[in-house]
């Protein structure tokens, strides 16, 4: 059983990686969770998980004969697969190897979360949305973010990927979030699964190299993420299908 979720936003800076790890940690109470840094161009996940010193990353697996197990790190109750930071590592990436990597990872997990790149103008940012079973759309209650979130949904729909939910993040106390949420729900095909308030705890967690649920488990933000994860009903997916979709879609794209 595996269900793959792309966590996507379109716009950068909305807290996508923070949300990916928070949802992953919350889900890891009930499921085996694997989090993959699908933003191969700008590694981010490793800084949020204290893995910035590790030698082997997904870049190495996709660029040489390193086994995928070497880039999988058990952290915070999840399996974390970070990307490296060097451009040369990215250039060595052989996308043909991704099928095997995904198939291997899918074999032993219930939930796979693909932390996607922002900016829908790049194929690498859209691929996780294309390939996943469903998408969690992370959105800030601002016009640019909502616009990009709606664009993410259009990409997902076009490729037959459904919307698992919309997660409002970085909600300011002054935001009329009830009205915004009600109005937004008319346009999104999935439910609004949560409203995460803007607080200092995610930033502090990032500095500490930990997911917010590990750094401040009792914080308002952590509790809001747990409630959001509760709204995600995990379905049984087909890992082979995911791997095949990866295989058929991945074309080398150099920066």
């Amino acid at each position: 059983m595996v269900e793959a979720f792309a966590v996507a936003s379109g716009k950068g800076g909305v807290g996508k990686t923070t949300s990916t790890l928070a949802l992953g940690m919350a889900l890891s109470d009930r499921y085996d969770v694997t989090v993959v840094d699908a933003d191969t161009g700008m590694a981010n996940l490793l800084f949020h998980t204290g893995l910035d010193g590790v030698e082997t990353t997904l870049h190495d697996v996709l660029g040489s004969d390193v086994p995928v197990s070497a880039a999988v790190y058990e952290r915070f109750g999840m399996r974390v697969v970070p990307c490296g930071t060097s451009l040369s590592g990215f250039r060595r990436v052989d996308p043909d190897r991704l099928r095997g990597v995904v198939a291997t990872l899918a074999r032993d997990t219930d939930v796979m979360l693909l932390d996607s790149a922002p900016a829908l103008g790049a194929k690498s940012a859209v691929l996780p949305v294309v390939l996943a079973d469903r998408v969690v759309v992370v959105v800030q209650p601002t016009i640019p973010s909502l616009s990009d979130a709606l664009k993410v949904q259009e990409y997902a729909t076009a490729y037959g990927t459904s919307i698992a939910g919309v997660l409002f993040n970085r909600v300011q106390p002054t935001d009329p979030i009830e009205r915004i949420s009600d109005s937004a729900s008319r346009y999104f095909d999935g439910p609004i699964i949560g409203r995460i308030p803007e607080r200092p705890s995610p930033q502090a967690a990032r500095r500490a190299g930990k997911p917010v649920l590990a750094h401040a488990p009792e914080s308002t933000v952590a509790m809001a993420y747990r409630e959001a994860a509760e709204q995600l009903e995990i379905r049984s997916g087909d890992g082979t299908k995911i791997a095949d979709r990866f295989q058929s879609a991945v074309i080398p794209e150099q920066p």
Binding site: V126, V130, L150, S183, S248
Partner: protein
């Protein structure tokens, strides 16, 4: 690229496109600039849109929506004649929503290189603009969401972009049949 007709607010000849980006910041221009070569009037004209002085789209008919190539074309006009037009902010936002590609606020300033004053000014203005437009007032975001025509236009434009990019990215076989 088609734009609503704006109100002409400045018409000038400058030595480089950098001067226009500075002028747009000075004027806090919301609208667009049309760039032409005064020496070769028949040369195609380039276009940059602005939201409170911050560039949004950069377009040239010979570079299509590649902003870097479009900027190179525009920057090759030396001297450069520019006409600046004003539009309302909602109109500019609609243009940006529908555009196949917009640029990061500092993209053009970075591409032009040289001194960092323009870059710093752009960054500063961007931060200030976003602070000023943060959804602290109820009406801003809610009225956006209640403008169903605007949302429909955004969705329709995105659908077209998805189709175009699917072909470019070799993802066409994964598109659903009914799209």
């Amino acid at each position: 690229m088609r734009l609503p007709q704006g109100r002409l607010c400045r018409s000038t000849v400058v030595s480089t496109v950098r001067s226009v980006l500075e002028l747009a910041l000075d004027l806090s221009l919301t609208g667009y600039g049309v760039f032409a070569s005064p020496e070769t009037p028949r040369a195609p004209r380039g276009l940059i849109t602005f939201d409170r002085g911050i560039p949004g789209c950069c377009y040239h008919p010979h570079a299509s929506w590649d902003p870097s190539a479009a900027l190179s074309r525009i920057a090759s006009y030396r001297p450069c004649r520019v006409d600046l037009y004003q539009l309302s902010r909602p109109t500019v936002h609609r243009v940006h929503d529908r555009a196949p590609k917009t640029v990061e606020p500092t993209f053009l300033a970075s591409q032009l290189g040289g001194d960092s004053i323009l870059l710093q000014r752009t960054k500063h203005r961007h931060a200030k603009r976003d602070a000023n437009t943060a959804p602290t007032n109820t009406d801003t975001v809610v009225s956006f969401l209640e403008d169903s025509d605007r949302i429909k236009a955004l969705q329709e434009t995105t659908r077209q972009t998805v189709q175009l990019r699917a072909s470019r990215w070799n993802l066409g076989s994964l598109l659903q049949d009914d799209h």
